[in-house]
Every structure is written in structure tokens, then in C-alpha cells.
């Protein structure tokens, strides 16, 4: 009784499989073919896997949508540019503006962990570096670490850097400088280098 039922079930399932597109070729052939030939037949790539409908739809929709996204990016970039100018004019007018930029000397491989900037004895910036930021500096990028306002005249600038040398030992270096602020924005570049003998680890220059 059970066996008869099983035969029906097996037959039904076989029929079901023969209707499935991917198995349509495999099942009947495999039944008849010798064992050794079954596997390669079964491996035949399924007929071109149907691309998901949504992905197809997305392609069509995406094109127009993508262009609209590009347009809004242009708009937002333009807003950003104007806001930057507005901010600079309003908060850091050129008469009083002092900006400090950090860069790493060419070819330096030390690990920079943090930089602290003090102007006239006050800490104005303390930045901890991520790996990405350090890489960007090592590739030649320049980081604007501080922008603020000072009176015209001479100011004390102290730079402290912390990190690890290429050899793996910790270092902390600080240097003090005098910065003369005239009419017009003052751009001070701080260049960091390794602590090798005879080389200065921290130097400043005017940009």
C-alpha cells in the first residue's frame, strides 16, 4: 500500500522537476544516462539566469534618477561654495584671519597620532589622526587644522606633535614660533618631519 503511494509520489515529484526550467534537461537525461555521465549534465549552466525584474526596472529608472541626482549634487555643491564664502566673510574676515595648515614632509613614513596648536598660549586646535587622514597627508595633502581671528601684530605659535617613529618608538615634539600678522589673511604652514638627527621635526612657513 505504502509502496504504491510512494510510486505515485515519486512520479509526481519527477513530473514536477521536469517542469522546472533548470532541471528540465537534467532529470530525464540523468535517469537514463549511466551514472558517470550524470554529473557533467547536471553541471551544465542553467539557462541564462533571468535578470531580476527589479534590477531591469532599476536600470531604466536609474538612468533618469541618476541624472537628477547629479543635478542636485551640482546645486548642493554650489550652495556649499557660497556658504563657505559667506562663513569666511562673516566669521573669519581677511583682516583678522589666521589659518594654520598641517602637512607632512615628502617621503616621511612616521605615524602621526595627534597635533596640538596653541596661539598666544591658548590651545586652539587638537586633532587626532585617522589612518585615512595620515595617508592623505603622506600623499601630499594639506590639512587646514585651525582657522580663527587674531589682531595684527606678532603672535606666539606653539605646535606639538605626537606619534610613533618608523622604528616604532613613541615621540612627542613641540616647537614655538613667532608669527607676524599683518593686514590680510595669514596662512601659516606647519611641516612635520621625522625626528631624525639634524633634522627639525617641526617647521613653519608662510603659504
Amino acid at each position: 500500500m505504502f509502496k504504491v503511494l510512494k510510486v505515485f509520489v515519486l512520479g509526481g515529484v519527477t513530473l514536477f522537476f521536469s517542469m522546472l526550467p533548470a532541471w528540465a534537461e537534467d532529470a530525464p537525461q540523468a535517469q537514463a544516462a549511466p551514472q558517470a555521465q550524470e554529473a557533467p549534465k547536471a553541471q551544465e549552466a542553467p539557462k541564462a539566469q533571468e535578470a531580476p525584474k527589479a534590477q531591469e526596472a532599476a536600470k531604466g529608472q536609474g538612468k533618469g534618477l541618476d541624472e537628477q541626482v547629479q543635478e542636485i549634487k551640482t546645486d548642493v555643491l554650489s550652495i556649499a561654495a557660497e556658504l563657505n564664502q559667506l562663513e569666511e566673510k562673516l566669521i573669519y574676515p581677511s583682516d583678522t584671519q589666521l589659518a594654520v595648515f598641517v602637512s607632512v614632509a615628502k617621503g616621511e613614513k612616521f605615524r602621526l597620532d595627534a597635533v596640538k596648536i596653541e596661539v598666544d598660549g591658548k590651545t586652539v586646535a587638537h586633532h587626532l589622526y585617522t589612518h585615512k587622514e595620515l595617508e592623505a597627508l603622506q600623499k601630499g595633502g594639506v590639512q587646514r587644522i585651525y582657522v580663527g581671528n587674531v589682531r595684527t601684530g606678532e603672535h606666539a605659535l606653539k605646535v606639538t606633535s605626537l606619534g610613533k617613529t618608523e622604528g616604532g618608538s613613541d615621540f612627542q615634539k613641540d616647537e614655538s614660533f613667532k608669527v607676524a600678522k599683518n593686514v590680510g589673511p595669514k596662512m601659516v604652514g606647519v611641516v612635520l618631519a621625522s625626528t631624525g638627527i639634524g633634522s627639525k621635526p617641526i617647521t613653519v612657513k608662510d603659504w
Binding site: 553541471q43 549552466a45 601630499g140
Partner: protein, 735 residues
């Protein structure tokens, strides 16, 4: 492994060549340009474009742009802005920026590099004809760093255009290019196969599959070559050769799962199921969401079945069924979760962006099951484009919201400044006007003195330099002389004294004239120093006064304008985010549904295979009993057989719902108890099981992962931004 796949995708991309860094090669002279690079090197495209755009705009407005430090970097900056826009997926603007260089008056190498980038852009955007046309505009010297890349791109374009012989020629010329090793060979192989030069093509694929690869990208292309060649050989029933080729694929690489699956099939195709079990068993233990792993979970019991170890096969089918059931449930929950919007929230998680492998991490987020099955989808070009657009929109939404707050702060600052300065300024202005008039007067006096001194250089006027006392004395002498002249009487001695005094006075004035003139000039010079100091103070006051007014006047219109623009942009971004999110959700649901349907098929297969395994086990048992048992025990045997059937059916039903292997073991144990023999799965080497090696009525339907013959993009350069890079993963190697 998935992480490797992503890393590979990142490395293979032909997106801006920032790692090679041509931007700072000749030193840095413009700090703002350096600042833009700092942002770009971190993949912060928005800030990089905003900064460089502003800088370029200011440079163009200068009367003498050659004096601007940016002039030194102008070529790189023009390229840079195009590159950054490409990184930020602003292809329309990037194309325009690069076209401007192409059309501009630049030297051949610069122009040719721009043409190369433009062609690459066209090609990425699916416009091979335009890309080829652009490349044909090259003339003169092509810069050395991109020479091979230009040729490789030409080959890719020709391949994409169906011009296989020309593509093959282009790739053949690159066989010695070190940075394209493996890639040129692979593409050459593909081009030759498409050209119907099957043997030649395979030869190059074989060669690309044996390169000495050190870099991750070279190792990946070597694996890919072996995978493609291996599956081609499998298609042709060359199992032995296929196995050798597939075994070259690394066990931990992005193609290892498919290679293991193929390696198993190459053994199985030769009837060596025991050997096939080795790669399949390794594969079956890997991440269950991978299609190849799911297939291996069916392939392993299939192989046991072929080895007549039906109990073990049934158990493993049961386990597969259980696993598929759980995964299907998970997929169902995921679809619901996606539809509830949780998928988009998971994608936009801030912490994910801090990790370069964030797409891979999505698969293991404990509270975001909707992301677990989407790695494959996430590496597809369409999904990546949509995803990045969505993330960019999300970032813009946040920026716009922040800017609105900034504007509030600006207005607050202005209000405070107005409140402080407005009452003070009238009094300050009044005092200033008074001082200003005094200053003007003194300045006029000083000017007069200067003029007189200047005139005395030409026409000496000693009288002008007489001291006050001398003037008084001269006055008095003149007065006395007048009195005498008017008829006054005085002794001759007095008259002589007056004359002598007058003479002394004149003598002193005349002889000391030069010294006095010099002293007067010195005094004027000293006065100039004071006047300059005064002028500085005056200018400083004027500037401060002006700055005070400017600190709160003239911003209202600008802020109002920005507010309106931000509000409008916010609306647009919100709308686009909704639409883009819907596209992403639809793609995710579609993918999850497809995977669930596939699992459902697998479940049906596993269920059927369990029943089939028990059927075969019973049959084998019966045959063994018939052969071994004496005639008197036939009835007992029949009963035992029925008991086994019952137990097996029960187990199959249970397995469909729950842990199949437990049920199978139970069934086998029951059968063992009834028949007094060892269960099938514990006696794989028994003579009975070997003798009953009949083919299953319905084979386990397995779907090998298709490895289409797609060309790969060469790793023109490495990129820094993995998120940006993944867009090309599928194009490069993933298909």
C-alpha cells in the same frame, strides 16, 4: 573571503588615479589646492570638489592669473576637478570638465591624457563607440604612465564592440606590460575564444592562470582565469583536466567556493565520488548564504548516495533541508524587514562608513537580517550605483540640515553684532570726525613746510630759518632804526652799536643757514615717521570701523537666498531619496525572493532525496536480508523491512519539518534494532551497500554557478575609496 572579493573590487577599479598621485609629483605651491587634495585622498569628494571649484573660479577671475600660485598646478587642477567629479559620480560634469581640457590649448601629452580619461568615462557609461572615437583623436606623445592603460582600454572597447580580432591584437601587444600581467592575458584569451580560436584562447587563459602573482589583484585574475578555464573543461567532460586547473584556485580567494564546487564536479564526472566529497565537504561548512555552499550541501549527500551510503546521505539531506528551511525563514523575515524600511536604515548607518569593508559587515549585522543575503547583489554595478546615490543623497540631506542650523547661527551672530555696534558707532564716528579734521590741518601744515624747504634748496632764504629770538631782535633793531630815521637823536656810539648788532644777527643767520636747513630737513623727516604712524592708526581705525559695519550689514539678502535654496534642495533630495530608496528596496526584495525561491526548490529536492535515500536503503536492506537470512527468517525480514519503511517515512516527514539527521539516525537505529544489522551510514564499506550501487531514480539537481566569459577591466590604478570602488566589482571580476 567576501572581504577579499571587495578588496579585489576596490583594487581593480579604473577610477581616479589618486594612489599613483600625479597631483603632487612636482611639489605643492598652492595651499588651497593641497587642501582639496587632502579631502580627495580620503575620498571626501564633495569637500574636494567644493574647495577646488572655488579655487579654480577665483583663479579664472584674476586679472593676472599667472601670478596666482594655482597657476603652477593648473593642468593637474583641471584634471583633478574632473577626476573628483568622477569619484563623486558626477559623470556629466566630469565629462564636460575633461572635454574642456581636450578642446583647450594644451600640450599633446596633457591633451592625450585627458582624451584617455574621457574615453574611459564613455566606456564606463556604456558608450564604447564614443570611447573609441575619443581615443582616435589622440595625436603626438602619449604620456608614459598611461600608455599601456590606453592600449588596454582600446582592447576593452574593441572587445565590448565585438571587434574580437582587433581586440586580440591590442591585448597581444600588452603581454609584456608588467602592471597588466594576467589581465591582458585573460582578456586576450577571452577575445580569442570569442573569435572562435578556442585552443589559442585557452592557451592564454591557461597562461594567465599560472602567472607568479604577488599582488591581490594579480592573484584574483589568476584565480578567475583558472575558474573560467576549469568550467569550460568541465562543460566538455574533461573532468581530469578541469580538476587540475581548478585546483590552482586559492582556497581563500573570492573564487574559491565556485572552484571547490567545480573541483567536486570534476571528480564526480569521473565517478570518483569519494574524491568529490573532499572539496564539497570543505565547501559545505562555509558561509551558508553563499549559493555555491548551498549547492554543496546537496552535493555532499548526493555523493554519499552514489557511494551507497544512504543513511548518511539521508541524514545530510535532512540537515540541508533543515538549514534551507531556516534560511528560507530568514529570507522571508528579511523581505518583510526590507519592506518595513529597515534595509535602508541599515545601509545608512554611520558606523558602517568608518569601515572599508562595510558592505561585507552588513552580512553579519545581528539586527539586520535583511542584509545577510545581499552581498552578491551589493557587488552588482546597478545596485552599487543606486546605493551610492542613496548614500550621497543621505549625506546631502544631513549637510543641508546642518547648513540650516549654520544659517540660524549666522543670523544670531549678526544680531549680536548689530546690538553691540549700533549704539557705539555714532559716538565713535563723532570723535573720529573731530580727530580727522585736526589731522587734516596738521597734514596741510606739514605739507606747506615741505614745500618751503624744497623751494629753499633752489633759492636760499636764510631769513626763513631765523630763530624766534633772532626774529624778535631783528624786529627791535628795525624799530630802533625807524625811530632814528624819523628824526630821533642818538649818540653816534649808539648808532654804531645798532649797526653792529644788526650785522651780527645777519652774520649768524647767513653763516648758519646750511646747518639750519639740514636740521630742518631732519625735523621734517622725523615728522614723517610720526605722520606715517598716525596714518597707520588712521587706516587701522577706518578698516576696523568698516569691518564693524560689514560684520552685520549686507548679509540679509544672502542668507535669505541661501535659506530658500537650501529649502528647495532639501525637498528635491527628500523626493529623490524616496525614489532611490524604493529602487534599492525593490532590488533587494527581488534578490531575496529569487534566493528564497531557489531555496524552496532545494528544499523540495532535499525532501525527495531523503525519501529516495530511505527507499534505496530499504531496498538494499531487503536484498541483503534475502541473501543472508535463512528461509525461516523471511517473514521476520519482511517485518523488519516494513518497520524500516515506516521509520524511514516517518523520518522523512520529520526531516521536512525539523532536524532530519536526528530522525534519520533514529530511523536507522530502529531498523538496526529490528534487523539486527548495522545502520547503512555506519557501514559504508559493507559489501551489500557496494553491490547495490544503482543510480538514483531522480538525481540531485545541482546548479553549478555560471562563469560567463566576460572580459575584465585592468587595474589601471588603485583607488582609495573602497565604497566608490565597489561599483565596478562586478564589471571587473565578479561576474
Amino acid at each position: 573571503m567576501a572581504r577579499l572579493m571587495l578588496i579585489l573590487g576596490c583594487l581593480l577599479l579604473a577610477v581616479p588615479a589618486l594612489a599613483a598621485n600625479p597631483y603632487t609629483a612636482k611639489g605643492l605651491k598652492d595651499v588651497f589646492y593641497g587642501e582639496a587634495l587632502y579631502e580627495a585622498f580620503q575620498g571626501e569628494w564633495f569637500d574636494a570638489i567644493a574647495r577646488l571649484d572655488t579655487e579654480l573660479g577665483q583663479h579664472r577671475r584674476l586679472d593676472e592669473p599667472t601670478l596666482d600660485p594655482l597657476n603652477y598646478h593648473l593642468d593637474q587642477a583641471e584634471f583633478g576637478v574632473g577626476d573628483f567629479e568622477l569619484g563623486y559620480r558626477m559623470h556629466l560634469r566630469a565629462g564636460r570638465a575633461i572635454s574642456a581640457v581636450v578642446e583647450g590649448n594644451f600640450a599633446d601629452p596633457v591633451r592625450n591624457e585627458a582624451i584617455y580619461r574621457l574615453a574611459r568615462l564613455y566606456f564606463q557609461e556604456g558608450q564604447p563607440a564614443d570611447a573609441l572615437q575619443a581615443l582616435q583623436r589622440m595625436r603626438g606623445t602619449v604620456p608614459e604612465p598611461v600608455r599601456d592603460d590606453v592600449q588596454f582600454l582600446r582592447g576593452e572597447i574593441l572587445l565590448a564592440s565585438g571587434r574580437f580580432p582587433e581586440a586580440a591584437k591590442a591585448f597581444k601587444d600588452l603581454q609584456k606590460a608588467k602592471n597588466l600581467e594576467g589581465f591582458a592575458g585573460y582578456n586576450l584569451g577571452i577575445a580569442l575564444i570569442k573569435e572562435r580560436k578556442e585552443q589559442d584562447g585557452r592557451q592564454y587563459l591557461d597562461r594567465a592562470g599560472q602567472i607568479l602573482a604577488k599582488t591581490p589583484e594579480a592573484q584574483a585574475i589568476r584565480d578567475k582565469s583558472n575558474l573560467v578555464l576549469g568550467y569550460k573543461l568541465l562543460d566538455e567532460n574533461a573532468g581530469e583536466k578541469a580538476k587540475l586547473v581548478l585546483e590552482r584556485v586559492r582556497l581563500s580567494g573570492p573564487f574559491s567556493n565556485r572552484a571547490l564546487l567545480g573541483a567536486g564536479w570534476s571528480d564526480a564526472s569521473r565517478g570518483q565520488y569519494e574524491r568529490a566529497l573532499v572539496p564539497w565537504s570543505i565547501l559545505a561548512e562555509r558561509e551558508v548564504t553563499d549559493p555555491a555552499v548551498q549547492e554543496a550541501m546537496l552535493a555532499v549527500p548526493y555523493a554519499y548516495g552514489k557511494l551507497n551510503i544512504y543513511g548518511k546521505a539521508a541524514g545530510l539531506y535532512g540537515r540541508a533541508l533543515d538549514s534551507f528551511g531556516k534560511e528560507a525563514d530568514k529570507l522571508g523575515a528579511s523581505i518583510k524587514s526590507v519592506q518595513d524600511g529597515k534595509f535602508l536604515k541599515a545601509l545608512a548607518r554611520e558606523e558602517m562608513k568608518l569601515d572599508a569593508d562595510w558592505v561585507v559587515k552588513l552580512r553579519t549585522l545581528p539586527d539586520a537580517p535583511e542584509t545577510h543575503y545581499l552581498l552578491e547583489l551589493m557587488t552588482s554595478h546597478e545596485f552599487q550605483d543606486s546605493l551610492k546615490n542613496y548614500l550621497d543623497l543621505n549625506e546631502m540631506r544631513q549637510k543641508l540640515a546642518r547648513w540650516e542650523t549654520d544659517l540660524d547661527a549666522f543670523e544670531d551672530i549678526i544680531k549680536q553684532r548689530r546690538g553691540y555696534y549700533q549704539p557705539l558707532l555714532p559716538e565713535i564716528d563723532r570723535a573720529f570726525r573731530q580727530l580727522d579734521s585736526q589731522m587734516r590741518l596738521r597734514m596741510e601744515q606739514r605739507e606747506r613746510i615741505r614745500k618751503r624747504l624744497k623751494a629753499m634748496l633752489v633759492e636760499p632764504r636764510p631769513d626763513n630759518l631765523a630763530t624766534g629770538e633772532e626774529r624778535i631782535a631783528r624786529e627791535r633793531i628795525a624799530h630802533l632804526e625807524q625811530a632814528l630815521a624819523a628824526g630821533g637823536t642818538a649818540p653816534a656810539e649808539t648808532r654804531e652799536r645798532i649797526a653792529r648788532l644788526k650785522g651780527v644777527l645777519l652774520f649768524n643767520i647767513s653763516t648758519e643757514y646750511d646747518q639750519r636747513l639740514t636740521d630742518a630737513y631732519k625735523d621734517l623727516h622725523d615728522l614723517n615717521v610720526e605722520v606715517d604712524r598716525l596714518k597707520k592708526q588712521y587706516d587701522s581705525f577706518v578698516r576696523t570701523r568698516q569691518a564693524a559695519t560689514q560684520s552685520y550689514q549686507g548679509y540679509d539678502d544672502a542668507i535669505r537666498g541661501q535659506r530658500s535654496r537650501i529649502a528647495s534642495a532639501k525637498e528635491t533630495v527628500k523626493d529623490l531619496m524616496t525614489r532611490q530608496g524604493a529602487v534599492l528596496e525593490a532590488m533587494a526584495v527581488d534578490e531575496l525572493t529569487r534566493r528564497r525561491e531557489r531555496l524552496e526548490q532545494f528544499k523540495v529536492t532535499a525532501r525527495f532525496a531523503i525519501a529516495d535515500s530511505y527507499d534505496r536503503a530499504t531496498k538494499a536492506q531487503n536484498e541483503a536480508s534475502t541473501l543472508k537470512a535463512p528461509a525461516g527468517t523471511a517473514e521476520k525480514s519482511d517485518k523488519t523491512g516494513k518497520a524500516f519503511d515506516k521509520a524511514a517515512d516517518k523520518a522523512a516527514d520529520k526531516a521536512a519539518d525539523k532536524t532530519a539527521d536526528k530522525a534519520a539516525d533514529k530511523a536507522a537505529d530502529k531498523a538496526k534494532a529490528a534487523s539486527g544489522q548495522a545502520p547503512a551510514d555506519t557501514a559504508p564499506d559493507s559489501a551489500a551497500s557496494k553491490e547495490t550501487g544503482v543510480a538514483p531514480k531522480v538525481p540531485v539537481p545541482l546548479m553549478p554557478v555560471n562563469v560567463p566569459l566576460t572580459p575584465v577591466n585592468a587595474p589601471v590604478t588603485k583607488v582609495d575609496n573602497p565604497v566608490a570602488a565597489t561599483a565596478q566589482t562586478e564589471k571587473s571580476v565578479g561576474k
